[in-house]
């Protein structure tokens, strides 16, 4: 029998739960040996895909002349909707997201046909030879336009708490305003890609960069009209995803699978960056309105919030996204009496999709803008207005009926006010602004409360698979996918800790539909919460079997797994010896684990329930300096205090917080998604769509973890950390707006994103200019 070569290794627990272990792939990352789908060697004869797309945003009677495309050099096959043997619908939940448009087109860039050719270049040359004829239709590009015609992709929903109309009337003061929040391109560094090979059972094997392998499997099967068991999908890692590969990766796999079936050859479909930007969905733009009723102390009595999302041409995930915007339109504040309405507007633009925060940021930004507005009318420091309205005992009911029970946010705000010297700096800034004429400074401290769980309850489940081989080495698999967030590392740490062995002994592996079936997307920040629990369940089953084996029919006492040893009663075994003995004694060393989140439910008809298992919190304080002659600005200081419960891995958690913050920073400052009047995306490449660089983060960028156990029974009482930090960047936008306020003047409106141009208009009080020449 093979014995584990490095038995001694098993004894060193290098990365237990709670330690700042390096990412499991870190050495491969820096060596360039971590393989992404585009790096996989392709089988001989592989063909390459390019798509032909709609040249207009809205048209009927579309006809295609593809003769020249077919005759183009290197072209082996061409497909349209008519060539799909199964279903042309690739919607995740509702209907209407199509693989190929036919007859009519609904946005500029929509895929109409695809080509498989012997090289990427030849495929791209070929698609340009198509001749389109169509009748152009008027385009509808904004949420406002869709609301005017009541053209929605899904029904409007409302949450209601108390008697908002009456309370609004009775409130001594009111403010109201509107906010147009632009969307955001994911700009994952690795573009969308799939590589599909035909299998001998008339099925396909799919390698794809996707957060949701099970859905890719389902949609590939339905496109081809075959059973799920003939499609396997695996994902080792993604080069970033951020929600952009939750539903958007599937169509690539479906098109590639279609060609694989038709040609019997392997097919690669890798989207060039510009097409990726044009053809895949983005963060939703919102046109929101708020009205707050409050007293002289700035305590909210009533809130009316209207959230209108530009969903694009179809539903995709917009239902849950607008729900989540509504769930976060209170952010951390008890609204007392509230009405929150969410519209899902149809437009002739690409169907918007999941993006880190999933609607939450747009809801939260609206109430934060309103808080500043309210504070400015009272001349109270905005941070005090925020503190006064926080959820606390007795003031704990959200507009959707869930009670907040974890009140750590107040303490966190106090701690950060202290730590960042907020009050002294506020004073210093007032003096600076009084002295300076060219430069102005601004400061803001804003909280985040973010609900954790999928709001579609059935998704809150996960599976895992653990094998222990006869040499003691462990193979770990679960339904969660790795996109850089360190999920595989955290679960590896947890499983290694559970067995009391080194992480070096626990091999993580590609997420694969033939290992763990029917998985949920790795999304909603829930990857670790769900999959680590499932893995722990599997580990515990095997541990129980090992202990039972050690007890040999006697009373089964508790065993201890640590330092590469297993202790039971007086007996101490080396891990590898025990595994070998267990194998020889015919103990099963493989287990599947399962987990579902307890205690959550939501009734969409009444808009009431308990959609979240718990909340994660954070606070950020940002300071900016603005040049009043140009609107250029610099983020000069950032302090963050973020709640991760008990951290499973402080280094990875800090990475999520910093990365999330900077992504939010981009959304609110330099990343300006623009369309022209015809509905063509004009910010369609990295040369005109600008994500932050290293120059955009301040010298002083300090993140502190607020480590206090999650009161809920999550894995080691940790908290999810993927999405919440993105919204910490709202502090930057609020600080910019603060800097734009002139003494004795009302707080100006500031566009989102606050580009230097928009800051300039806010400073000059030229409301009309903000939308000058800007597309829809």
């Amino acid at each position: 029998m093979r014995k584990l070569a490095a038995t001694a290794e098993a004894g060193v627990v290098v990365a237990a739960v709670g330690q700042a272990a390096a990412h499991e792939s870190s050495e491969k990352h820096v060596r360039g040996t971590a393989a992404y789908v585009d790096d996989m060697p392709v089988p001989a004869g592989t063909l390459f895909v390019a798509t032909g797309w709609a040249p207009v945003a809205a048209a009927k009677g579309l006809r295609l002349d593809l003769d020249q495309v077919r005759q183009s050099e290197g072209v082996i096959d061409v497909c349209t909707e008519a060539d799909v043997p199964g279903s042309n619908d690739v919607s995740p939940v509702h209907e209407g997201d199509v693989l190929f448009a036919s007859g009519e087109v609904s946005f500029h860039g929509q895929v109409v046909f695809a080509v498989a050719a012997t090289s990427q270049h030849l495929a791209e040359v070929a698609v340009k030879k198509a001749i389109f004829t169509y009748e152009a239709q008027p385009v509808q590009l904004t949420a406002a336009a869709a609301r005017a015609t009541e053209d929605f992709v899904l029904p409007t929903r409302t949450f209601q708490m108390g008697s908002p109309a009456l309370a609004m009337q009775n409130a001594t003061r009111q403010v109201q305003g509107a906010l147009h929040i632009r969307g955001q391109e994911h700009f994952y560094l690795e573009g969308q890609v799939a590589l599909v090979s035909p299998t001998e059972d008339d099925g396909v094997a799919v390698l794809v960069s996707s957060q949701h392998p099970s859905e890719v499997q389902k949609l590939v099967a339905s496109t081809l009209g075959i059973a799920l068991n003939r499609v396997t999908v695996s994902v080792r890692r993604m080069g970033g995803a951020f929600g952009g590969k939750e539903t958007q990766a599937a169509p690539l796999a479906c098109i590639a699978a279609l060609f694989a079936r038709r040609t019997g050859r392997a097919i690669k479909y890798r989207m060039p960056r510009q097409q990726d930007m044009m053809q895949t969905g983005k963060r939703h733009d919102f046109e929101n309105e708020y009205r707050l009723g409050f007293d002289d102390q700035g305590v909210i009595q009533a809130a009316e919030l209207t959230l209108a999302a530009r969903c694009g041409y179809s539903a995709d995930l917009s239902d849950s996204i607008v729900d989540r915007a509504m769930f976060h339109a209170d952010n951390a504040y008890c609204l007392q009496n509230a009405q929150i309405t969410g519209y899902r507007c149809r437009t002739n633009t690409v169907s918007n999709t999941a993006f880190r925060g999933f609607g939450g940021p747009q809801g939260m930004l609206t109430i934060e803008a309103a808080m500043d507005h309210m504070a400015s009318t009272l001349d109270i420091d905005p941070v005090d207005v925020r503190l006064r309205n926080l959820y606390r005992l007795g003031n704990d009911e959200t507009p959707y009926g869930q009670k907040v029970t974890d009140f750590r946010l107040g303490r966190m705000m106090d701690q950060l006010i202290e730590q960042s010297h907020y009050r002294q700096r506020r004073q210093g800034i007032a003096e600076f602004n009084a002295r300076q004429s060219y430069l102005r400074r601004g400061l803001a401290l804003t909280p985040v409360k973010f609900g954790i769980s999928f709001t579609a309850t059935h998704l809150n489940q996960a599976g895992a698979l653990i094998h222990i081989y006869s040499d003691g080495s462990v193979h770990l698999n679960h339904g969660g996918t790795e996109m850089g967030q360190g999920l595989l590392t955290k679960v590896q740490q947890i499983v290694a800790s559970a067995f009391g062995v080194s992480t070096a002994l626990v091999q993580v592996s590609a997420t694969a539909t033939d290992k763990v079936p029917n998985t949920s997307p790795t999304a909603a920040s829930s990857g670790t919460d769900l999959n680590a629990m499932a893995a722990l369940d599997a580990a515990n089953q095997i541990k129980a079997r090992l202990i039972a084996f050690l007890a040999q029919g006697d009373v089964v006492g508790p065993g201890e797994f640590s330092d590469g040893k297993v202790r039971h009663g007086d007996v101490i075994w080396d891990w590898a010896d025990l595994i070998q003995a267990a194998y020889l004694n015919r103990v099963s060393l493989s287990a599947t684990g399962f987990y579902k989140t307890p205690d959550i439910h939501f009734d969409r008809a009444t808009g009431k329930g308990q959609p979240f298992y718990y909340y994660a919190f954070g606070v950020a304080c940002s300071e900016v300096v603005v040049d009043t002659t140009t609107g250029e600005y610099r983020l000069s200081q950032v302090d963050i205090l973020h709640d991760v419960g008990r951290s499973l891995n402080p280094a990875l958690d800090q990475g999520q917080i910093e990365g999330g913050f900077v992504q939010g920073l981009g959304w609110l400052t330099t990343e300006e998604l623009l369309w022209n009047e015809a509905g063509h995306l004009i910010s369609n490449s990295p040369s005109n769509y600008k994500i932050p660089t290293a120059f955009d983060i301040p010298d002083h960028f300090k993140v502190t973890l607020f480590q206090e156990d999650n009161p809920e029974a999550t894995v080691f009482h940790s908290k999810a950390v993927g999405e919440p930090p993105l919204m910490l960047a709202i502090s930057v936008w609020c600080a910019l707006r603060d800097a734009c306020r002139r003494p004795m003047q009302p707080l100006p409106d500031l566009a989102v994103p606050a580009t230097p141009e928009q800051v300039y208009w806010a400073l000059s009080g030229r409301k009309d200019a903000a939308d000058l020449g800007r597309g829809p």
Binding site: G32, F187, L189, G239, L439, T629, F695, D699
Partner: protein
């Protein structure tokens, strides 16, 4: 095979490669098709840095980071390339690799090979200029020195995008590396082979010589005579976008990069001669002493990777309305020396050279030899406004040059970029300034006149109104600075 070029030879991670391919084949394509997939493609347009590799282009310089996605592999003849796979020596990680692991500087890891190479190139630059004995003393500790160090670290990675980490850990890695001495890469890796570099690839049959890199002016002229329709290429940072973004093809390319006569670079206290094949990087370094305004401006042009390849001639030749240097050259009354394969050299004023949207006086057979500039001691201000501070294209740029006699303006040049189809001057305004003293009233009236004179368009980078107001505001700023009024900067060291 008509579209296959002559075989070139170059060093790749220490092994000599012979390669023949298309004239317009990119290094990234070459690497990835030959199974070296550590170098990633994030954009194929020189914007993200994921494809960064190191190239030693001549033996007088360190290995420099460049974007493999827009680098024609044919340009590498005789040069030495290191990719992420070849960076460890004897399988020991390079310090840049180790530092990124230590600081948790990789999340999804897709950008990481690019950052590794950018950092390694940055270190090599320092090691190379320090020499084998490690160079001078490190700068003493002070808050200003600290800010400068951090700025240099940011600069080093400003051509690399990361969507996951927020850069903080990568900057931390850079700061670690800044304080540790390393050996120059040519000592541990391959050194450029001078004999091979100077050799010409085999141009005989059966190959069609689609890519030619002449080494003398005469050879260049001969080639132009033989192939008048060939495209000229210098750094290729603009031209190669045709290939990677638009499926364009170039069967015949003539490189200007190796002609010494196009490489002159002399900057004296009052004047400058800049060869058309001089890179922004070299220009930036040379300008530090006598032309500081340009030196600072160039740090915001493109990225380090782009500055290592992009040339002054390229910026002029394409005459793009957003070419960053054009307003500056206009304000400096630059003279363009145009050569032709049979006619004598011709000196053309920049204002005549530029003829419209991407149009110049260049005719087939012409090439730019050099640019001559005077007036470096005048009062100079170059400004650029963009959405993002680094590596972004200007929404508006303004170049101002004034000769002052006491407080009187004796000569004024005012040029703008981003406000029309081409970079332009406003001669009427310049006239109006002549002989004037700078007063509040003058500034107000100039501001007004700029608003009236300019009629830009709204596009993805800025609105028409913003462009106009910026043009006017920045002109006024220049005049205020000329008066010596304090104009604090958001990036100033002292206001922090």
């Amino acid at each position: 095979m008509t579209d296959i070029s002559n075989p070139i030879q170059f060093w790749l991670n220490g092994a000599l490669q012979a390669h023949s391919g298309r004239a317009d084949e990119t290094l990234l394509g070459y690497l990835r098709h030959s199974g070296r997939v550590g170098t990633k493609e994030g954009c194929a347009s020189g914007d993200c840095g994921a494809c960064t590799v190191l190239v030693q282009t001549d033996d007088e310089h360190a290995y420099k980071p460049m974007n493999a996605c827009i680098l024609p592999v044919q340009q590498l003849h005789g040069q030495a390339v290191i990719t992420v796979e070849g960076l460890p020596s004897n399988d020991v990680l390079h310090p840049a690799q180790a530092a990124l692991i230590e600081t948790h500087g990789a999340q999804c890891g897709f950008c990481t090979p690019g950052f590794v190479m950018a950092l390694a190139g940055w270190m090599d630059e320092q090691a190379f200029s320090a020499g084998p004995d490690g160079g001078g003393q490190p700068e003493a500790d002070s808050p200003q020195a600290e800010t400068r160090r951090l700025k240099a670290c940011r600069e080093a990675i400003s051509g690399n995008l990361c969507r996951c980490t927020g850069y903080r850990p990568i900057l931390q890695a850079a700061t670690h590396l800044a304080s540790r001495p390393t050996r120059a890469l040519f000592e541990t890796h391959q050194r450029l082979d001078k004999a091979l570099f100077d050799s010409q690839p085999d141009h005989s049959a059966p190959y069609k010589t689609g890519f030619r890199a002449p080494q003398t002016l005469n050879d260049l002229k001969d080639l132009l005579r033989q192939q008048p329709s060939a495209n000229l290429i210098a750094g290729g940072t603009d031209l190669m976008l045709e290939v990677t973004q638009k499926q364009g093809r170039f069967d015949q390319l003539i490189s200007l990069a190796r002609v010494p006569a196009l490489q002159s670079l002399q900057i004296s206290p009052d004047s400058a001669i800049i060869g058309s094949a001089v890179t922004y990087q070299d220009l930036q370094a040379a300008a530090e002493l006598h032309w500081p305004a340009l030196h600072h401006f160039l740090s915001r042009l493109g990225s380090p990777q782009i500055r290592n390849r992009g040339t002054v001639g390229g910026n002029l030749g394409t005459a793009s309305p957003i070419g960053d240097l054009l307003p500056i050259l206009l304000a400096m009354d630059a003279t363009i020396v145009m050569s032709h394969f049979e006619a004598a050299d011709q000196n053309v004023a920049i204002s005549e050279f530029l003829q419209g949207y991407r149009k110049t006086q260049l005719q087939p057979g012409n090439f730019i030899k050099e640019v001559q500039v005077t007036g470096l001691q005048d009062f100079l201000r170059y400004y650029k406004i963009s959405k993002r501070q680094e590596d972004d294209i200007a929404a508006v740029s303004v170049a101002v040059r004034l000769k002052l006699d006491a407080d009187q303006i004796t000569l004024a040049r005012i040029a703008f970029g981003g406000v029309a189809e081409q970079a332009l001057r406003l001669p009427a305004l310049e006239q109006a300034l002549q002989g004037q003293a700078i007063t509040e009233a003058l500034m107000t009236s100039l501001h007004q006149q700029v608003l009236i004179a300019l009629n830009p368009i709204s596009d993805v980078r800025a609105s028409r109104d913003y462009r106009r107001e910026m043009a006017a505001n920045l002109l006024v700023r220049a005049l205020k600075e000329a008066l010596g009024l304090p104009m604090p900067q958001i990036y100033g060291l002292d206001d922090a």
